[in-house]
Amino acid sequence: MTGPVVILDNVEKIFGEGASDQVHALKEINLQIEENEFISLIGPSGCGKSTLLRVVGDLIQPSSGVATVNGKSANQARLDQDYGIVFQAATLYDWRTVAKNVQLPLELMQYSRSEKELRTQAMLELVELTDFASHYPWQLSGGMQQRVAIARALSFEPSILLMDEPFGALDEMTRERLNLELLSIWRKTDTTVLFVTHSITEAVFLSTRVIVMSARPGRITADIAIDLPQPRNADTRSSVRFFELETQVREELRISEGGQEPERKPA
């Protein structure tokens, strides 16, 4: 693959009809994502992060502008099954066991039986849930469910991973552990990641670039390269550079909100 993985060219999204109840969710969005990047989107609630992610994933259509993915239209990329998606809620199917949930995309993509078994096995090892293969979702903790969702998203080796606040509902400890796990998966699999978060720390820790957005209308107000060394680990968070970058992102968020405090992650 040569050239950017994702190109958003002047993307606009306006929800609703009639001048009174229109929401200008995205305005003049221009963004390029290179192969193997880990991009975080951060901004106040309602600034259009999820909308941007859905435009990239062809789950909604932009009102104007073009989304190009892997050199083709976002629609073609979706039909070619280029996307793995993880939402804030794990969105596992209650009637499927852990292994069957991981297999869902493989079934839809007509993988052979042996290939399905092989990949499911590998994915469950990757997220360390081999022992839970035949459990049902309700038997797992929230963090484990989210790991299953990640295994499912990665099982067919999509070229792009779209994650919408995947750890937003988890406690701080689980979140930090899953951050490390996600980074090690990212290094192993060569995927490009577009990651939505409200947490400044999480964004800086994970990303190669942090995109700051502002609300009404949703715009990109800053694009900050995170030049922390790879691979990142628990020590990364205590480095001086980490602190500087965190401060920089916080400042950008404050400016984008016109001097207000950025929204805090839930306690």
Binding site: G84, D94, P105
Partner: protein, 314 residues
């Protein structure tokens, strides 16, 4: 688990207490049997326990007056004639000290059994047809969203109509002795709860789950098979539970408006008309037990079909 044991035993104890109270009150206030028969007189139609003593010589007249009493004590020994009579309808017998205990089928056991079987077949036949039709229409309306918008208000309105009022019409259409006339009533009664519940299950799909399917470029039929139908199963089963209760009601009340002699509803009306109230009550009791049995079978099927669903209750 003792909690589970308690959940089973508590209602049984309450039931036993109520039956004893019922028996006691009817006896104490000498209530006429056409108002309310004693539980023992009702059950005596179905089961009898005969205790044969060993003291004095046999009284041949006694056998003729076994009646519908639940517990009968016969003085005298076990003469060959008496033994022959008791053996004829015996389920089991055993010695108890110097006496012999016989558990017999009650005098109305066979007629009630035959009538129940006849009516159960009507109920189940109607349930099968109503379920198939309800699911088919539900699938069709999900396929064509426009038809759902048009149909659902009618279905909801129809669901609150007293459909049993059509029973005489169905008897007229299909023939009063034709079991199909009762099946038709049951079918119509069951159609709406099944259809409405199935449509609800097929359409109340979490929007994230749908987006997930779209992100894999799944086709409509894949979304139906792998998401909508499994998602609809729990509500289909709640529809089936409602339907199970309605099925026996529909068949029996349909028979109240006329049917062949063998039918349970007809049996109940006739016994009541002949002032054999304990027998009518016994038939009603069996109808209730069948209704409960249908419900339990559906519950069991649900547990087997949806092992993942149990815990949402527990």
């Amino acid at each position: 688990m003792s909690e589970r044991r308690q959940r089973i035993w508590a209602p049984i104890l309450i039931l036993v207490a109520l039956v004893i109270l019922w028996e006691g009150l009817v006896t104490a206030f000498n209530i006429q049997q056409f108002l309310l028969p004693k539980p023992t007189a009702i059950v005596g139609n179905l089961v009898q326990v005969v205790v044969v003593g060993s003291a004095t010589s046999g009284d041949a007249e006694e056998e003729a007056s076994l009646g519908n009493r639940f517990l009968v004590v016969l003085p005298g020994g076990l003469s060959p004639e008496r033994q022959a009579v008791l053996e004829a309808s015996r389920w089991l017998s055993f010695p108890l000290g110097s006496r012999d205990v016989f558990v017999l089928r009650g005098s109305n056991f066979m007629p009630i059994l035959a009538a129940s079987w006849f009516t159960l077949k009507e109920a189940l036949g109607g349930m099968a047809m109503g379920t198939v039709a309800g699911i088919a229409v539900a699938l069709a309306t999900t396929r064509w969203a426009a038809s759902r918008e048009a149909l659902l208000p009618f279905a909801i309105a129809a669901n609150s109509m007293p459909i049993i009022a059509f029973a005489p019409i169905m008897n007229n259409w299909f023939g009063i002795d034709n079991p199909f006339s009762k099946m038709a009533i049951v079918t119509i009664m069951i159609f709406f709860p099944i259809m409405i519940n199935t449509v609800r299950g097929l359409t109340s799909v979490d929007s994230r789950s749908l987006e997930l399917m779209h992100s894999y470029a799944a086709s409509d039929s894949e979304i139906l098979m792998k998401l909508r139908i499994p998602n609809a199963l729990p509500s289909l089963f709640s529809g089936l539970k409602v339907a199970g209760a309605l099925a026996m009601i529909g068949a029996i009340v349909g028979e109240y408006f006329g049917g062949p002699r063998i039918a349970l509803g007809v049996f109940i009306t006739q016994e009541a008309a002949l002032f054999r109230f304990a027998t009518a009550w016994a038939a009603i009791l069996v109808a209730c037990l069948l209704g409960i049995a249908i419900y339990l079978v559906i519950l069991l099927a649900e547990r087997l079909a949806l092992p993942w669903h149990q815990t949402f209750r527990a």
